[in-house]
Amino acid sequence: MKVVSGWERLRAWFLLPAWIWMAVLFAAPFAIVIVYSLLTRGAYGGLGLPWTPENYQRLADPLYLGIVLRSFAMAAATTVICLLLGFPLALFISRAGSRKNIYLQLVILPFWTSFLVRLYAWLFLLRDTGLINTALQHLGLIHDPLPLLYNNGAVLLGLVYGYLPFMVLPVYATLERLDPALVEAAADLGAKPWPTLMHVVLPLSAPGIRAGSILVFIPALGAYLTPDLLGGGRTVLIGNLVQNQFTNARDWPFGAAISVGLMALVGVLVLLMLRRGDQEGLV
């Protein structure tokens, strides 16, 4: 009994770095952002009194609601495409036997370089004088370059590209744990491969799909770099809006209010999804 409680005490100390980390790098900045969001914009940017809820009231402006909606649509589309691409890939890898680790390394390979560098690589591929357009022109398939860059499609491509591994890895983890006997049992009971996928494999990988969707949807919703570089400033999403308030518009309180609003929204969504998962976990 004494050994156990000693161990428990030690374990609590192990959490200390995490607590400090969370306090200094999450709780404190978040508190600052909340304070900012309730202040008034200063005459030359900056911050000033009085306290006001006005920044939050401005969020209801149709202009900003439109941006929020567009961001949601973009994040949702990213999540769905990542799922459609990632699920078959994860399934393939989970059945790849001894080559599993090679394929997993390939999925993680992009993380070996910075995301920024990889986005610039996409710029070189997609721009009017980029690799793709030049190649198509040389082949005589097109005369004028295709508008591959600086539009919604390019942003979506970049988001899917950037976040696909976050879908593949958790889905892979659940498929990897799936008892192969269940797939055999389905076949044994008369289920062809497609019904087996729909009625057995897919429902049983729901936890991984849920985790992957959260991991893709949330960063995609707040994405800033991808829409900025591949959207060329035309596709304004929430992330760009926040950045804009803190830089060009010099409206820190409003930028802070948008950030807080986004966090609240994401928080609610994650809670809903986790609760759903808990309910399923019970049965």
Binding site: D179, A181, L182, E184, A185, A186, A187, D188, L189, G190, A191, K192, P195, H199, V200, P203, L204, A206, V283
Partner: protein, 319 residues
């Protein structure tokens, strides 16, 4: 005799193992048949070849007279009760049972599920998920899920191994009784000789990818054809090349006069087993012999000189 399932020179080689090495077997319709053998003897692979989870290297699987080698598992009219039941954890007991009926587009699903639940005495637990059922109940769901499809052969892969010993003995009787009631051919794979002996109408004893002997439980236990079968189905005393089961081996202080065989021996110990006693002896010729005798047949002291005796008709002789 009409056979529902036939294996012809069935061979399955894995890259580094000859799992099944030329098996021929005819399994009669409507009985309880067992494949008995030690782990690694190829019995589970044989079952998987019949179910269609593995493709034979050579040879044929015939189901109801037709070669089914090319048929996928979902096309074969056999069904498997898996060792760990492989119930779908996201479906209720009733949904598990309905799974095959739905996939095969059978009519009257609701009624059949209800009847299957009654058959395995799980009425009232139909909306439980597998995690909310006991080991025995899970097994009954697995049974019902397969039986409801009315397969030509029900394949059972060590179905009792995951149960605790007490429940295991009870389920032996239940399985046997259920087979009689539904009339479907059961093919059981097991490494437990008691299980195979107590449930089977006929059994095949397997060793190293081949069949050693086929027969009724009495045949293989009382008249084993090989030393392996004799040793695998029960304990054997080997006396000058002749096999003798401990329960037909007797001990006497004075020389018997009834024409039986006997050898002088010394008691080396005794083990009390509750329903009987095992007396351990060593013959003068050096062999260790165990005699299983009734509890109240007196006690023997270690070091005591006695005679080990038996009837010639109880001898198991091998070529």
């Amino acid at each position: 005799m009409e056979s529902i399932l036939e294996l012809r020179d069935l061979v399955k080689h894995f890259p580094n193992q000859r799992a099944v090495d030329g098996i021929s077997l005819r399994i009669p319709r409507g009985g309880f048949y067992s494949l008995l053998g030690p782990s690694g003897c190829g019995k589970t692979t044989t079952l998987r070849l019949i179910a269609g989870f593995e493709q034979p290297t050579s040879g044929d699987v015939l189901l109801d007279g037709a070669v089914v080698n090319e048929q996928k598992p979902y096309q074969r009219n056999v069904s498997t009760v898996f060792q760990n039941y492989a119930l779908f954890p996201h479906l209720t007991a009733a949904e598990n049972i309905a799974f095959g009926l739905k996939r095969k587009n059978r009519p009257d699903i609701e009624r059949k599920v209800r009847e299957a639940l009654e058959l395995v005495r799980l009425t009232g637990k139909e909306s439980r998920h597998p995690a909310q059922l006991s080991g025995g109940e899970r097994q009954r769901v697995a049974l019902a899920r397969s039986l409801v499809l009315q397969p030509d052969v029900l394949l059972l892969d060590e179905p009792l191994a995951a149960l605790d010993p007490k429940l295991r003995k009870q389920m032996r009787l239940e399985l046997k009784e259920m087979q009689r009631r539904v009339g479907i051919t059961f093919l059981l794979v097991t490494h437990d000789q008691e299980e195979a002996l107590s449930m089977s109408d006929q059994l095949a004893v397997m060793n190293a990818g081949a069949i050693e002997q086929v027969g009724t439980p009495q045949d293989v236990y009382l008249r084993p054809r090989t030393r392996f079968v004799a040793g695998f189905l029960g304990a054997v005393n080997w006396i000058a090349g002749v096999g003798l089961r401990p329960e037909v081996t007797r001990i006497a202080r004075t020389l018997p006069s009834n024409g039986g065989r006997f050898r002088p021996a010394t008691v080396t110990g005794s083990v009390f087993l509750g329903n009987c006693v095992h007396v351990l002896t060593r013959l003068e010729s050096g062999e260790d012999v165990v005699a299983e005798i009734p509890r109240d047949n007196g006690t023997y002291q270690t070091g005591e000189a006695i005679h080990v005796c038996w009837n010639p008709s109880d001898e198991m002789i091998f070529p």
